[in-house]
Symmetry: C2
Subunit: 353 residues, 2 copies
DNA sequence: TTTTCTTATGAGACCGGTCTCAAATGCGAA
DNA sequence: TTCGCATTTGAGACCGGTCTCATAAGAAAA
């Protein structure tokens, strides 16, 4: 690999020479530390302008040990949920003069590990992670810099965490469905389950997934629905097989009369699949989804959603992390934000008699 | 600001001491360069593992001059167009072991300048920019590292550029509308215009905006529509005033019978506003938009769109840039990708008699 | 055995900043 | 005038890597 001829950049020494002062003095002016006389300050600034000096942030980070950037590892930037949260994070970071290095894990633990390794090697001052799998958290535990979790809590990891009240949200949403007489309700999530699930919800470590399932099951139980666990469908992420899975679900004997979707991407897939199968919402199937994505209000019918404060989620987690960077050493906080349900037109009475 | 006690990291010297070799030799093994005997290699690797050595990428970049990361400045990550393009960029970058530092300009030149300054200070190896305004490109011209433009070309800047055939796309889309008898057609864009526009399309420097307008006007002219320029509406980005502007447009005497929207965010706003005003698509108003966003196929009616190869756009521009980083010095390329129109149900005959 | 060439290793400069420490300067007080 | 103290400046170490260059060791050739 040929190396492009490194542009000879203007350094502190160059400016110092031009201004006729020592390197240390020029550095003081340029770096904004120490004390310098007004005369010298002006001379150095003048020289810097003349030479078009640009500081090398890398060299600065070398000595200070702080890089002025934080790493953010999310599952999928394309998912509007994450892009909005990232927006919240960047906005807060910008205000503190910190910038954001973004990495996609694709919800894959290995990719996540790798991303974290790279970010750490780049000496990020802190990390915000949306852990892909809760089973493997060893790589998170050994992170030396401040870490904060976004949207997903890990019981085994005592760090700042911002989530929403998933359990209550799922509970309330499912209740809306049971109240309409639905008894075959499916919960469809993009999350993949490591190992067997059946009846051992407590073994799911990812808080978001577990809490939602617990809320879902609780609501089913209230309504006297047995074996709700069997109606939980994992892994309906973006793939052909996932789409096929949904199709199969919709065409099966035990076709659900209502579906609760874990995010807007899954919900959109479901919406399309439902239409392709010739069913009508809410006559044949009722649908509720997490996340008030922009499209949910313009479909026919508009979709009833669980509205999560996504931007605030990102904003808060960034604020928490930045506070840490400034030396705050209070015990880790776990903030749970409330959700609201926006009832639109996608829920109707059960079509079963 | 208190400084957190810097975690004493394990350095090459530490590993060298542990392995009983010189710093230079340990560095050779750890850095994967030079020649080392097998015996020593194993010993160093062993020592590194024992000490849990993590390389400091910053220090490495210091000497090599290359940081292994590229900067990407887009208008708005939240816009699905950009998130998809960014996805394309990151995927390519990951394959080359390069990572991406993302910055939002919010379509504001000052923010863009600032972002570029910071990224440059962080010694990014290259930059991908979606220039917010084409009037001010001085800050782009003086960039010393490889630069590539995404989605928007700048005539005054000879660098690798990937765009779509905006002019033809707008031409074809507008023809669909004129063919249905529409004569009051509005083009609505989020772009803001610096200075006065009226009749001087050629003065708009941002290629995307200019080309689309030229295509739009050409199609209007073909159909014998005069003064199409007056139906071009700028600045309908995300703001209250923009929404009000759309409302005003729809309620005016000269209400357009068809609208062409510059991106899916604008289109969604339009869609909602049209509904709020009590109009029906396509009976009262026809609508076509750039970008096949996910929601456009699930509305009632589904929206006719100009499908841009967004992911490919990001992928290509990243490939071009990375080729540059590897020393390629061919003259700059300007790649124009073709678009296709997906005809759905949002276009009907003009309601005017 | 001596010479010549590889190959492996070590010493130390270097990248571009920060920062410590000592010296120089200036100024008011004794 | 001289001393003390605060302020300003310069010299140079340092951060954690890379990389050049010289040397040492070993192998092949004479």
């Amino acid at each position: 690999m040929k190396r492009p001829p490194k542009a000879p950049s203007v350094t502190v020494s160059d400016v110092a020479r031009e201004a006729g002062v020592s390197k240390a003095t020029a550095a003081r002016v340029l770096g904004g530390y120490g004390t310098v006389s007004e005369t010298v300050r002006v001379a150095v600034l003048e020289a810097a302008r003349a030479l078009d000096y640009r500081p090398n942030e890398l060299a600065r980070s070398m000595t200070t040990g702080r890089s002025g950037s934080i790493g953010v590892v999310v599952g999928d930037i394309e998912n509007p949920f994450f892009s909005l949260a990232v927006r919240g994070i960047s906005d807060v970071a910008r205000l503190s003069g910190i910038n954001v290095i973004l990495a996609n894990s694709g919800e894959d633990v290995e990719a996540e590990k790798n991303a974290i390794r790279v970010l750490l090697a780049k000496q990020v001052d802190g990390l915000i992670v949306t852990p892909a799998q809760a089973g493997e958290i060893a790589h998170l535990k050994e992170i030396a810099c401040p870490l904060a979790l976004l949207d997903r809590a890990l019981p085994g990891l005592a760090v700042d965490t911002v989530t929403v009240d998933d359990r209550n949200a799922a509970l309330q949403a499912t209740r809306i469905l049971t109240r309409e007489g639905h008894r075959r309700i499916a919960y469809v999530t993009a999350a993949v389950l490591s190992g067997d699930f059946r009846g051992a919800a407590s073994r799911i470590n990812t808080s978001t997934v577990r809490e939602r399932i617990l809320g879902f099951i609780e609501a089913c139980r209230e309504a006297g629905i047995e074996g709700a666990e069997r109606n939980i469908h994992f892994g309906s992420g973006r793939s052909e097989s996932a789409h096929a899975m949904v199709q199969r679900l919709l065409k099966s004997q035990e076709r659900p009369t209502a579906i609760l979707a874990s995010d807007s991407v899954v919900a959109l897939d479901l919406f399309k699949a439902i239409r392709e199968c010739g069913f009508s919402i809410p006559r044949d199937i009722s649908l509720i989804t997490f996340h008030d994505a922009d499209w949910t209000s313009v479909t026919t019918p508009p979709i009833t959603v669980i509205d999560q404060p996504v931007y605030a989620l990102g904003k808060l987690v960034a604020e928490l992390l930045i506070r840490r960077l400034k030396g705050d050493d209070r015990p880790p906080e776990r903030i749970v934000l409330p959700t609201t349900i926006i009832e639109r037109m996608s829920v109707g009475p059960s079509s079963e008699i």
